[in-house]
C-alpha cells in the first residue's frame, strides 16, 4: 500500500526533495514514473534560480536504476541522463549548498555505480564582460565513480565554443577535448589531471584581448573555476589566426602543438607567471594584403617563449625563428605600407600596452626576390639576427629595427652558375620604415665570388629595396683592377632588370687569358663600361665601350693554327705572302686601343681599334644569329 502511494506521488516527492536540498532553486519536474522494480524514469527536470527565474539545469529525461540494497548503502545502481542542459552561471553557485564538496577525499552523500550521459550540453556564462562564455557538448560513462576517489575518470567534450560577451563570433573553437580526472582531484583539489585538445582554432584579436585585459582578481576569482588547475594540457593542431577584418589586411595564421603543465588559472592571473612555456609554431605564413596566393614571409618554425603572466602584459620572453624566408617583392612593401597606414590610423591613446619581445633570434633565413606575377628568384644570402627588447605595436604590425647578419660561408648556386664565399654583412630592416621610406637595406661582403669562369675577390654588394624594385651596387677586385657596378631589378612581369658594370685598370693579360685562352691575348690595363638589359636570367641587350690608356701588345694566338696549316702545295710566293700577312695580323704593339660593342641576345657587333708605331688594326666582329640577310644592321657598309 505504501509503495503504491509512493509511486503515485513520485513527482511531488521529487520536488520536495529538491527543495529541501536546494532551497534557493525552483524545480520543474514533468513526470517521475516508476517503471517496474528498481527503475525510475524522469521526464523534463528543470532547475531554475528561485529569484531570477533563470534556467540553470534542464534534463529532457533520465533513468535511475536502483535496488533496495543500493538505497540502504546510500547508493544508486545507474543514473542515465538524456540530453541534460547545464547552465553554469553565478546563479548555479548560489543554489548549490555551500561546503557540499568539501575536504580532500570526501565523497558526496550519494553515489552511483554508473553514471552515463551520451549527449549533454553545458553553457558557462554570465560571469562578467571579461569572463568568457563557453558552450560545449559532452559525453561520459563513469563506472563506480564513487568506489575509489583516485579512480581515473574521463569526459569527452566537443564543439566547444568560447566567446567574449559583446562579440558575436567565437574567439576559440575546439573540435574535441578529452579530460582525465579523479573524483578526489575534482572534488578535493579542483584539479584536472589531463586535458587533450585535438583540433580547433583560436582568434587572437579584440575578443581575446578583452578577456586577457580583465582585472585578474575580480570576477574571475569570485567563482570556483578560478582556482582550478590542469596538471597537463596538450594542445594539438590548434590553428591560431591574428584577427584583422580589413580587406587589405594580411592574414597571419599558424598551428600550435604544445604541452603546458601545472596550469593554474588563478596562478595565471595572480602569481603569474613565472613558469615559462614554449609554443612551437610550424609553417607560419604571412600573406599579401592584396593577393592571398602571394607570400610575404614564411617562417618554417617559430618558438615562442612566454609566461602566462607575460602574455597578460603583452610580453613574449623570446621568439626564435628558424628558416624564415622574406619574399622581397611589391607585396612585402604593400604589407609594410598597410601596417604603416594602420599605425597612422591609430589616433588617441592606445587601448593597452604594446607587445614586447625580450629576445629575438633568427637563424638560417633566406631572401627570395619576387617579381611581377609570382615569379621568384632566390638571392644567394642566408642571414640570422639577434635583437633584444623589441617593441611590437601589435602582433600584426611588427615594428622593429634590427640587422639580419649575413653568415660567412661558401655557397654554390648552380642555377646561376655562381659560387659565393660570404664574409659578412647585414640586412637592415626598419619595419615599419622610418622617414616614410619603406626599404630594406643590406650590404654584404664576399671573400670570393665566381660567376661562370670569372672571379672577383674582396667584393661587396649593397642593395636597397622598395616597392618598385631593388636597386643595388657592387664592387670588387678582379684581374688586377677594380670592378664597380650597379643594378635595378624591377618588380614587373617577367622580372626585368638593368645593370651596369665598369672596370678600371683591369689586367688584360689575365682577363683575356680567361675569356679566350691561347686564342686571343692583350696586355696592358683596360678601362671599360657596359650596360645590360635583361629579363630574369636572360640577358637581352648589352652595350659598352672600352679603352686601354697605356701601351700594350695584342696577340691573336688562334692564327698560329692557320700558320701551321698553310698548304705545302701552295707556291712559295703564296705561302710567304700568307705567312707575312698572318704574322702581321697576329702580333701588334699598340699605344692606344679602344672600341665598343653591342649585342642583342646572340647577335651584335664588336669593334676594336688599335693604333701603334707600326700602323693600326681595326677589327669588326659581327655575330649573326643566322645567315639571313634580313636586318640592315648586318649588311656590309
Amino acid at each position: 500500500m505504501t509503495l503504491v502511494v509512493l509511486t503515485r506521488n513520485l513527482t511531488r516527492i521529487a520536488k520536495w526533495a529538491v527543495q529541501r536540498s536546494l532551497p534557493a532553486a525552483k524545480a520543474e519536474i514533468g513526470d517521475v514514473l516508476y517503471e517496474g522494480p528498481g527503475r525510475l524514469v524522469v521526464h523534463k527536470f528543470v532547475l531554475r534560480d528561485r529569484v531570477s527565474g533563470v534556467e540553470l539545469l534542464r534534463v529532457d529525461s533520465g533513468d535511475v536504476v536502483f535496488s533496495f540494497d543500493d538505497l540502504r548503502r546510500r547508493q544508486l545502481g545507474e543514473i542515465r541522463l538524456v540530453h541534460p542542459v547545464i547552465r553554469i552561471s553565478p546563479g548555479l553557485f548560489r543554489i548549490l549548498p555551500s561546503g557540499g564538496v568539501g575536504g580532500e577525499g570526501s565523497l558526496p552523500p550519494w553515489a552511483a555505480r554508473r553514471i552515463v550521459c551520451d549527449y549533454a550540453e553545458v553553457l558557462y556564462e554570465g560571469f562578467g564582460p571579461t569572463s568568457p562564455s563557453v558552450g560545449l557538448k559532452c559525453a561520459f560513462d563513469w563506472s563506480e565513480p564513487g568506489s575509489d576517489p583516485a579512480k581515473p575518470l574521463g569526459l569527452t567534450a566537443w564543439d566547444i565554443r568560447v566567446s567574449t560577451p559583446g562579440y558575436p563570433e567565437d574567439f576559440l573553437v575546439l573540435d574535441r577535448v578529452d579530460l582525465r580526472f579523479t573524483m578526489r582531484g575534482i572534488l578535493g583539489k579542483h584539479e584536472v589531471a589531463g586535458v587533450d585538445v585535438v583540433g580547433g582554432r583560436l582568434v587572437l584579436g579584440a575578443a581575446l584581448q578583452q578577456i586577457l585585459s580583465g582585472p585578474p582578481s575580480s570576477s574571475q576569482s569570485a567563482h570556483p573555476a578560478a582556482t582550478w588547475k590542469i596538471s597537463r594540457l596538450v594542445l594539438g593542431g590548434l590553428g591560431v589566426r591574428f584577427e584583422d577584418k580589413r580587406e587589405t589586411a594580411a592574414n597571419i595564421s599558424f598551428q600550435i602543438h604544445t604541452t603546458l603543465t601545472d596550469l593554474s588559472l588563478s596562478e595565471a592571473a595572480g602569481e603569474i607567471g613565472g613558469r615559462e612555456q614554449t609554443v612551437e609554431i610550424a609553417d607560419m605564413e604571412i600573406l599579401s594584403p592584396y593577393d592571398p596566393l602571394t607570400k610575404v614571409f614564411t617562417l618554417r618554425r617559430v618558438f615562442l617563449k612566454f609566461t602566462l603572466g607575460g602574455l597578460l602584459h603583452n610580453e613574449l620572453a623570446g621568439v626564435t625563428i628558424l628558416q624564415p624566408t622574406i619574399y622581397v617583392g611589391p607585396d612585402l612593401f604593400w604589407y609594410m605600407e598597410d601596417a604603416q597606414s594602420r599605425l597612422a590610423e591609430k589616433t588617441g591613446p592606445a587601448p593597452g600596452p604594446s607587445w614586447k619581445i625580450g629576445t629575438l633570434k633568427v637563424d638560417d633565413g633566406h631572401l627570395v626576390v619576387g617579381s611581377g606575377g609570382r615569379a621568384k628568384y632566390g638571392i644567394p644570402l642566408g642571414f640570422h639576427a639577434d635583437a633584444q627588447d623589441i617593441a611590437l605595436d601589435n602582433l600584426a604590425t611588427l615594428k622593429f629595427q634590427t640587422a639580419f647578419h649575413i653568415l660567412p660561408g661558401t655557397t654554390a648556386f648552380p642555377g646561376y652558375q655562381l659560387v659565393v664565399s660570404t664574409k659578412e654583412g647585414d640586412l637592415r630592416f626598419a619595419y615599419p620604415p622610418e622617414k616614410n621610406e619603406n626599404n630594406l637595406v643590406g650590404k654584404v661582403f664576399f671573400d670570393k665570388l665566381r660567376w661562370r669562369q670569372y672571379e672577383s675577390s674582396d667584393a661587396w654588394l649593397s642593395a636597397t629595396f622598395d616597392r618598385s624594385g631593388i636597386n643595388g651596387g657592387f664592387g670588387g677586385r678582379a684581374y688586377g683592377g677594380y670592378l664597380k657596378g650597379g643594378f635595378s631589378f624591377l618588380f614587373e612581369e617577367n622580372a626585368p632588370w638593368i645593370g651596369w658594370l665598369s672596370g678600371n685598370k683591369i689586367d688584360l693579360a689575365r682577363f683575356t687569358g680567361v675569356i679566350a685562352p691561347q686564342n686571343f691575348r692583350m696586355t696592358g690595363p683596360l678601362d671599360f663600361k657596359l650596360q645590360m638589359d635583361a629579363f630574369g636570367r636572360r640577358i637581352e641587350r648589352v652595350k659598352g665601350k672600352f679603352g686601354a690608356p697605356k701601351p700594350g701588345h695584342m696577340n691573336i694566338g688562334k692564327l698560329d693554327d692557320l700558320l701551321a696549316n698553310i698548304p705545302g702545295t701552295w707556291s712559295n710566293l703564296k705561302k710567304s705572302g700568307t705567312r707575312l700577312v698572318l704574322e702581321t695580323l697576329r702580333d701588334f704593339d699598340y699605344t692606344k686601343a679602344g672600341g665598343d660593342f653591342w649585342f642583342v641576345e646572340n647577335q651584335g657587333i664588336l669593334g676594336l681599334k688599335l693604333q701603334g708605331p707600326l700602323g693600326s688594326r681595326n677589327f669588326e666582329v659581327v655575330l649573326h644569329a643566322d645567315e639571313s640577310r634580313e636586318g640592315r644592321w648586318k649588311q656590309k657598309p
Binding site: 635595378s488 624591377l490 614587373e492 612581369e493 626585368p496 638593368i498 651596369w500 650596360q531 638589359d533 637581352e540 641587350r541 652595350k543 712559295n572 710566293l573 710567304s576 705572302g577 707575312l580 700577312v581 702581321t584 695580323l585 653591342w598 642583342v600 641576345e601 646572340n602 647577335q603 651584335g604 708605331p613 707600326l614 700602323g615 693600326s616 688594326r617 681595326n618 677589327f619 669588326e620 666582329v621 659581327v622 655575330l623 649573326h624 644569329a625 643566322d626 645567315e627 639571313s628 634580313e630 636586318g631 640592315r632 644592321w633 648586318k634 656590309k636
Partner: protein, 170 residues
C-alpha cells in the same frame, strides 16, 4: 655542339715580294719600319640559334613577340644612332628622319615594331583588365627604365611638358 663558320676578309693587304734568282743582292730592309693599317671584319654565324626560334617563351600575343625579337638588332642599331627613341606612349618614335632607302627602312621597321608593341599592350590591358592608356604609360616607364645611357627617351618635366633627352646615368 655549336658549329661556327668563320669567314675572314682582308680588304687591305697588299704585299710586294721580289723573288731573287741570281743577280745582285737586293736589300729589302727599310730605314723606317713599315707601317701597316689593317681593317678586318669577322662574321660569326651561329646556326644553332636561329633568330626566329629564339622565342622559347612567347609573350601574351605570341607572334608579335617573335617578330619583335627578330628586329631587335635593327632597333638597337637605330637607337645607337639616335634615329629613334622611346616615347611616352610605349611606342618608338623616329627622331631623325633619314632620307632615301635607309630612311624608308627605318620608317617601316619602326612602324612594324609599333604595331607589334600595340598588339602586346592591348593583350596586357585585356589580361589585366586595365585601360590601354594606363598600360601604355606603364610600358613607357618600363621601356625608359630599361634604356641605355645615351638612348633617347621622352620624359616629363616638372611643369608637365614632355621633351626628348638622351638618358643619363646608369
Amino acid at each position: 655542339m655549336e658549329t661556327k663558320t668563320m669567314k675572314i676578309f682582308f680588304p687591305a693587304a697588299t704585299l710586294a715580294l721580289v723573288s731573287g734568282c741570281a743577280a745582285p743582292t737586293v736589300n729589302l730592309s727599310t730605314a723606317e719600319p713599315i707601317k701597316v693599317d689593317i681593317s678586318m671584319r669577322l662574321d660569326v654565324y651561329d646556326h644553332n640559334r636561329q633568330t626566329g626560334a629564339r622565342s622559347a617563351s612567347p609573350g601574351p600575343a605570341g607572334e608579335p613577340e617573335t617578330r619583335r625579337r627578330n628586329r631587335m638588332a635593327d632597333i638597337q642599331n637605330f637607337k645607337n644612332s639616335r634615329l629613334v627613341g622611346e616615347g611616352r606612349d610605349g611606342l618608338l618614335s623616329i627622331r631623325v628622319d633619314t632620307p632615301g632607302e635607309v630612311g624608308e627602312y627605318v620608317r617601316k621597321t619602326v612602324a612594324d615594331e609599333n604595331l607589334d608593341r600595340m598588339a602586346l599592350m592591348k593583350a596586357i590591358a585585356e589580361k589585366g583588365q586595365k585601360s590601354l592608356p594606363d598600360v601604355q604609360a606603364e610600358q613607357s616607364s618600363l621601356w625608359q627604365k630599361r634604356s641605355f645611357e645615351g638612348e633617347l627617351i621622352e620624359t616629363e618635366a616638372p611643369d608637365g611638358t614632355f621633351s626628348w633627352t638622351a638618358k643619363s646615368g646608369g
